[in-house]
Amino acid sequence: MSLVGRAALLLVLASAVYAIYAALRSRRDGEAWQRSAEGAVYAVFGLASMAMGTLWLGLLTDQFQFRNVQEYTSSSLAWYFKLSALWGSQAGSLLLWMWILTMFAAAAVVLNRSRNRELMPVVVAVLMGIAVFFAFLLSFVSSPFETLATVPADGRGLNPLLQNPYMVIHPPILYLGYVGLAVPFAFAMAALVEKRLDSAWISSVRTWTIASWAFLAIGILLGSRWAYEELGWGGYWAWDPVENAAFMPWLVATAFLHSVMVQERRGMLRVWNMSLVVLTFSLALFGTFLTRSGIIASVHAFGESTLGVWFLGFIAIVLGGSVALIVARLPLLRSAHSLESFISREAVFLYNNLLLLALAFAVFWGTIFPVISEAARGSRITVGTGYYDQIAVFIGVALLILTGVGPLIPWRKASLNALRRRFMVPLVVAASTGVLLAIFTPAWENWIAGLVFVSAGFVAACIVSEYWRGTKARHAGKGLSWPRAFFGLFAQNQRRYGGYLVHLGVVVLFIGLAGSSAFSSSGDLVLNGQGERGEVAGYTFVYEESLRTSDEHKGTVGVKLGVFRDGDRVKTMEPRTNFYFADQQRSTEIAIDSNLERDVYIVLVGLSEGGVARVSVFVNPMVMWLWIAGVIITIGSVIALLPLNRRKSATTGVPATPPETVSA
């Protein structure tokens, strides 16, 4: 079985090298070579799938002769955790990265069988170049099919922290986002090489970029949810280097998604957009490097390895090659127009881009500063969460406000009258929000949170007014009923109105972030015996029972706590601690009671033989809003991506939507 896996990887390497050769040769020698290169891409995907299948089979059937199986599973592990153990290991996660890349490469080839034919040779060469790098690492540096000299009777088991449903789906979804960014990068490089620098390449990568962005966003939120449920410190985001590694490409991809509209509409920001694509993909590679190099300490990172230097070299090649290409094509990348007013849609997109990049740079600096300080001064200086919070709060609020402002400002320039008309209602809503919060809630006790809530009210009103304006225009222009006019908006312009839904998700996200970070309360309780009680944030916790159970895999201790508020029982909660026999590891099973208003979050710190329970209690307001935001963002992204109302003038010569307004 090990031989099959190793052979598959070597064949991936050989086929990918051939694909590059054939793709580049096709630029001179024609279509047959191009199709041969594309055949090689399919072969690469099939072979990479074979390697994945082999490792999965090994994991599922307890092939403990594989180091990866022995170190990350045990015979008693549930089958779905055996499957997810593939990305629990360094080599396995690299294999997943490469497999997704080859899958996307094959999909890009299928989708462009009769499109972008001039670009495809370079697209194939770039994607296969990346595949060569990963296949080389997997074949010669970090093999997932390494075998042990003696076969142990059982495995060490999967880290208990990873035995969580979110860990089954979080890494693959995050990787779909990371790796998906390779496709826009490949098209950008192809456009540069072939000097086809109009907006066509941007249209070709739009779907890939939106999908990758959405996968990254959902992956980040799922990771936060996992951290919240598993790590037991009461929060969901700690500015950990690995969290930052996913956040940085997401920020730059967000900038790209917005600035690309300026290029499509006004022919501006061409160099900027090229640079953003390169930066986004380089940051995706940097994130992969960061998690694997061992240069940073993180609960999410893999251990020390020799992979770091390889990744650094590859990132240098990617960055160096891309920048050289952009510089060489600068004369062709000149903008068709220039900025006419600082109060225009394109200007707002530019501000949004600058803020996003400033935040990405600040996060980058904070992430690598410990490494730089160690290299320069010999001592590692860690950057605390205060640094990130200070920067992120102000840039975040500014970005939130721009989320509302941007769509309401006309292209090119805005008159004062138009601005007054557009922003009157949102400003009234914002002011009313501020007043209502002051009267009915303690929101203004933390002025930053108050500012976020008011901004959220403003942006929500802007978004609603945009839906209203669009619905009214369709109702008046086409004589549609109000519901048809509204729902038809999504089919008529999916990207815009799906995008507004994503904006609404961002508003909900900010509300959740502000509420949960500004008004969280916590306390540690020592409960000496049954019936004893303690109080945190207005809740009373009554020790009702201690629990001790055991099965063949693990022993469990826990406490049953009655949770009361104003004398009424709210919930009975049971925080626990598991001890896994196979790998001698402990994990906390946090008890969480969630609703829209707050989470009650209890961690069992210890339970003595005498029954004395020590628990940490957190009351975190509005955390559920974060997860709801994730759902809204997902729905908005899906709407933006679904092929609801695409023109199909293609090749038959008969447009599906007749060009009524154009006469030749």
Binding site: L3, A7, L11, A32, S36, R113, R115, A200, R412, S649
Partner: protein, 94 residues
């Protein structure tokens, strides 16, 4: 061991077949008969028509002033007409 050799041989032969087939049989009947140049023109035309619709909708919803709408609409229509003419030259019988 024999099973392993069979699998590895099958993988190798499968990859070779995918790679070599287009070179040995250049006129692949399974291939789309669509002319890539025509397809690219169609795609560009689709984008242009979408833009005309979007510019018009932006105007109706107040995102473009009358002057800007007229200028942008004129540019985009000119582009669409140019693409339609190019397409007609490629498909004179349709």
């Amino acid at each position: 061991m024999i099973f392993t050799i069979v699998i590895i041989s099958a993988m190798t032969l499968g990859a070779l077949a995918l790679i070599a087939r287009p070179l040995l049989a250049p006129r692949d009947s399974g291939r789309s008969a669509v002319d890539p140049v025509l397809r690219e023109l169609d795609d560009a035309l689709d984008r242009s028509l979408d833009s005309i619709d979007e510019i018009s909708f932006d105007h109706r919803t107040g995102h473009l002033s009358d002057d800007d709408y007229a200028a942008l609409d004129q540019d985009e229509r000119a582009r669409a007409i140019k693409l339609l003419r190019q397409k007609e030259q490629l498909t004179p019988n349709e």
